[in-house]
Every structure is written in structure tokens, then in C-alpha cells.
Symmetry: C2
Subunit: 342 residues, 2 copies
DNA sequence: CTGAAAGCGCTTACAG
DNA sequence: CTGAAAGCGCTTACAG
């Protein structure tokens, strides 16, 4: 038979006192006698009393649970972010409820509502590729629930944000290809909506412009799923052109690895005949042969920072629900990592 | 200013009826008049009423949240498992609270207690490398909270379990090396405690024995962290022996990739001079050059199955808390994937 | 020093 | 058809 979960009532009854006194005794209120405290604590220990977080959550109107909504989890960057979030939250006494959007706006919206109903204390999210804006998060604003966006953010949405300078990172990557002698550059970019895909594209264009290189629309490809096999397919197309590129900058390392695979199948020498730079500094970038040059994206730190901002906001509002909250956008450092592919 | 979260009370007051009626109306109880239902639903919609999951959880004594405790999350296999768990839970109306053990027994125990206090409806876990048993999960049994163990399980612990046949997988891997002509086999194994590390070691031994090959203790290395760099270091040691191995079976693909890296640095040709097989079928195994032969471990399906068993158990106990529960151990299929490294 | 009371937001058996 | 009451497990301002 299952044991009964000890409640304050059980302790109170056994000791012949009230629930009030038990509650206070356990929390060392000064107005409880030493003997009562002793007796209560002893019995609580004996019965293995564990307060019901849900009841406390209702009373305090605080769950000590934060929500996280991300597009996918089998993903080097996102799993690193989660790790950063979890380790920070653990240390601050918050638990983490995670949900996936699968990059779908409708599912993302559903998850936001579920999180709202569960009364999480705050939410951290990176937008689905399908989401052009974060408007479907506005229920959180209406009810003063803190939100931190990271990586795939909506610039117009008023909340804390954490990201890297994607435009600058892409600029570094592209300029590196140019410095290595590339004259005809291609970019396999991310989908239409995510801001970071646009910014990486912009950074690519910035570098071409600075160095007076032509931006050939035939050399721009747009991923839908941002997978290795998309990179592979687009690379095959690009490299079969009459006037193929001699350098390719890809929106992620996954896509870059696909490019390497395609080039190898076509017997192109990397880096001699084709140079490739990815983005994110995933593990596969170091493992692939030739190893892939890339832009570092500090997932763990992004997660940690997002969690820190979120918990700061939660606790500020707790202390003074009226004080206006100023939002920050924190931009973490990024840099180029040169490997065999360039 | 933040909006007020609509409660049943708000609706009741505005309509001049009781909370009871509002509650029933929203749930279409047959004993409420059609007009009342209409009015209530209309106002609920207008005020954007969202029931407080916590309050319902307390009443029903059911949170619709399941907990997951895993050793790490930046990990191909575990993130796939999580994905499987989440997609199944999503579809069944459960949310997922995740915590990490960082492979530490003490932290694992703390997480179990936290999950218990949060009153999750059930728990899915894979044991920390430090945990020789699942004894510290027994509080769950005492209070009849369903638990499903996967991958790193404790065979003695009475609960549902999901895994693959690690021993057989390791046997397949090793026999494949033998079939390819290896005479002197090494194994870089996982840590002491995890059952799957032991079983993979046993499977390795089974194959040697079947084919009358010597088991040289000098060719067995034990990982602590099971990382790429451990694989690299051990491979350097093994390959520097006077009588080095001609085939290495590694406990994971990460470790196998480290072996490949070391062998390449020592100018050994793979697979001509050294053959390598990993375990898990991670993405890096296909990306590394030469690509790594491996044993498939269906993470997504393991997660899905674990979630299914858990929710079945939760709902069985819900329906009849007295009925004795029979525990299953489900073993999913595994197979060898041959690539360039053998 | 201790306890009665109200309340967090719900649900449901029971009475009318 | 509707409502008063009790309860889930806690907390806390107030009275004594």
C-alpha cells in the first residue's frame, strides 16, 4: 500500500495543536515556544513531511517554475542554452518546464497558453521559424509575466533579450573568406522570418559591399529546415553552375557540413577550390573532415544570461509590482574560429 | 498596469450567481440551464478566463506534469529521448519538467526530492554514472508515484524500464570487427556503475569468447566522463603499445571519434590498419571522416515508449489505486550500421 | 505563546 | 435548476 503524504494537519492532530502553529514552528516564527518547535520538527522529520509546493504556490502566487519554449531540442545550440538555463535556475531554486514549438507558430502559441495556465513565474523563448513576430506572446505582457527572448527574437517586442551580434558574426565570416582570396561568394541562408537569419544575410552583404564584390542573387539560397541535407542539395546546385562560387558562407554548421559533403562528392578540394564557413561552433564543425571554420555562438552563456535576466525581473516585480521595469538587450561576444575549411 | 487574472469568482459576481454554477456551466454539467451556460461562457470568453492549473491540480490531486531526470542534455542520445518524451506527453496533455543530475548521485537525489515536492504525476529517469543503484528513488515507490527508468537502469528496482539490448549490440559490433579480420581487439568502456556500460563490456567479451580470441586486460580502458578526448587519450595509449590492437570497440560514438582522431595523428590508416566501431548512432558518427560504424540506439522511440508506459501507469492507478501494477521491461531493437571505419 | 478565521482558485457531493 | 458547504494544503493578519 502507498503511504499517505504527510500534511500539516497530520502533524497538528498528532500533537494536539493547530495547523497554524505547526506551520509557524516549521518556519521558526519567533512567536512559537521552543518546546513546540522541537516537537513539531521532530515529528515532521519522523513522518517525512514535505511541504506541497502547489499549495505554497497558490498562497504565495509564485510557482518557482519557469517555462522555456524552443523550436527544437536535438540541436547543439539549443541544448547548450537549456543547460545554461537549468544550471542557473537550479542554483536559484527554480525548476524548469520545457516545451517545443517544432518551429510552428500555432504550436508555439498553444505552448505559451499552457505555460500561462500553469502559472509559471516567467518564460524564456526563442521564436519558431514560422513566427515573424512575438505578438502571440502578448498575453504574458498583459498579465505582467516576465519574458526573455533569445537568439530568434522580435526586436519590436518589449522585453529582455539576449543574443549575439549575428550581423557582425556573419560579416567576420564573410570577410575571412574574402581575405583568403575568394572572389565569388555564395550564402546559404536561413528562412525568411527569423531575425538572426536576416542579420546573418545582412552581415554577408556588408562584407561584399565593403570589398566591392558583386552580390549575385543566383548565389543566395534560402533554407527551409536548415538541415545538413538542405546544405548538401543547395551546394550541389551552386557548384554545378557555369560560374560556381569559390566560397560559401552558411547560416549554420549543419548546413556547412552538407556543403562539405557535396563538394567532396564532386571532387572539389577544400579549401583549395572551395572555402566554407559555418555558424554556431557546434561539435560537428570540429569533427567533420576537413574541419569547418565557424563563428562562435556561446549557447551556455546565452542560457545563463537569459535565466539571470528573467529571475531578476521576477524578483524585482515581486518586491515592487508597481515599479516600472526597464528592458535590456544583452549582446554576447562572438568571434571567428579558423579551421581547415578555409 | 497588469491585468487581473480572471477567476470563477469574477464571473460569478458579475453575473450574480455562485462560483459553483459558473464552474459547472463551463464544464457543461447537465444540471445547468442553457441560458446560464450561454451567459457564463460568453463572459468567460470576454474576460479571457483561463482556469488555474494549480488549483485544479490540488483538487484532483493530479498535476498533469511529469518529471524527467537525466545525466546531461547536450547529448545526442538524451536530447532525442527528451524529444520523444515531449512529443508523446504533448499529445496526451502532460507537461514536462526537466532536471539534470550532471551524473552526480547527490544531485540526482536532490532532484528526485524536488520532483516529489512539486507533486509530479510520474517520473522518467536515466541514472547518473555515479549511481550504482536506484535506491534513492524509493520515496517514489513509497508514495505510489510511477517511475520509468531508461538506458541507465537498475535491474533490481521494481518499475517499468525501457532499453535496448546493450549486450547484444556490443556483441554485434565486436563480431563485426572479427568478421572484418581483426585479431587483437580493444574495448574502451564506460564507467564502472552504469549497467549499460557493463553490458556492452559483456557483449564484447561474449564475441571474443565465441571466436576464441584472447581477452587482454591491457586492451580494456575505462572512461570516466565518456568524452571524445578520453577516447583520444586512451587510443594514443593503446596504439603506442608494442602489440597494439587492430580493432577498437568504444562505448559511445564520442569516444570512437576520439579514437579516429588519435589514429589519424599517428598516421594509421582506417580501416586498413585499424578498425573502429562506436555505439549510439549519433550524428557525429556519420559526419566524421572516415565515417564511424556504430550500433543504432533509437533515442526518440525510447523516449516515446518511456512516456507511454509512464502515462499508462499513471492512468491505471488513477482508475483503480488498489489494482496491483505489473512492471514491464521493454527492449527495443538495435542493429549494426556499417560505415567507412570498418 | 497559541489559535480561529479568511483566503489562494478550484471541484463536487448534497440539499433545496 | 441553483447554491451553501466542505475541502485540497498551505499562509498570515489578527485576536486573545
Amino acid at each position: 500500500m502507498a503511504q499517505h503524504r504527510t500534511t500539516l494537519k497530520d502533524i497538528a492532530e498528532e500533537l494536539g495543536i493547530t495547523v497554524t502553529s505547526v506551520s509557524k514552528a516549521l518556519k521558526d516564527y519567533p512567536d512559537i515556544s521552543v518546546e513546540t518547535k522541537k516537537a513539531v520538527k521532530k515529528l515532521a522529520k519522523k513522518l517525512n513531511y514535505q511541504p506541497d509546493s502547489r499549495a505554497i504556490a497558490m498562497k504565495r502566487n509564485k510557482s518557482n517554475i519557469i517555462g522555456v519554449i524552443i523550436p527544437e531540442i536535438v540541436h547543439f545550440f539549443f541544448s547548450n542554452v537549456i543547460q545554461g538555463i537549468m544550471s542557473y535556475c537550479d542554483q536559484k531554486g527554480y525548476q524548469v518546464l520545457i516545451a517545443l514549438s517544432n518551429n510552428q507558430k500555432s504550436l508555439e502559441k498553444k505552448q505559451v497558453n499552457l505555460m500561462f495556465n500553469t502559472r509559471v513565474d516567467g518564460l524564456i523563448a526563442s521564436l519558431a521559424n514560422e513566427s515573424a513576430t512575438a505578438k502571440h506572446f502578448k498575453i504574458l505582457k498583459e498579465y505582467n509575466i516576465p519574458l526573455v527572448l533569445f537568439d530568434k527574437i522580435d526586436e519590436r517586442f518589449e522585453c529582455n533579450k539576449v543574443k549575439i551580434d549575428d550581423r557582425f558574426g556573419a560579416f567576420l565570416a564573410t570577410e575571412h573568406l574574402i581575405a583568403k582570396g575568394c572572389k565569388r561568394l555564395a550564402h546559404i541562408r536561413g528562412p525568411q522570418h527569423p531575425l538572426n537569419a536576416k542579420e546573418r544575410y545582412n552581415g554577408f552583404c556588408d562584407a561584399l559591399k565593403k570589398h566591392n564584390l558583386e552580390l549575385d542573387p543566383a548565389l543566395i539560397k534560402i533554407c527551409e529546415k536548415v538541415t545538413l541535407s538542405e546544405g548538401y542539395d543547395f551546394a550541389k546546385e551552386l557548384l554545378a553552375l557555369d560560374n560556381p562560387p569559390d566560397g560559401i558562407f552558411t547560416v549554420t554548421d549543419q548546413v556547412g557540413v552538407g556543403v562539405i559533403k557535396a563538394a567532396q562528392e564532386m571532387n572539389l578540394k577544400i579549401p583549395e577550390q572551395l572555402k566554407v564557413v559555418g555558424f554556431s561552433d557546434s561539435q560537428i564543425a570540429q569533427v567533420v573532415k576537413p574541419s569547418l571554420s565557424t563563428i562562435h555562438q556561446p549557447g551556455y552563456e546565452i542560457g545563463e544570461t537569459a535565466a539571470r535576466l528573467l529571475i531578476e525581473e521576477i524578483e524585482t516585480r515581486e518586491a515592487d509590482s508597481e515599479s516600472p521595469v526597464g528592458f535590456k538587450q544583452i549582446t554576447l561576444d562572438t568571434y571567428l574560429i579558423v579551421r581547415e575549411s578555409t
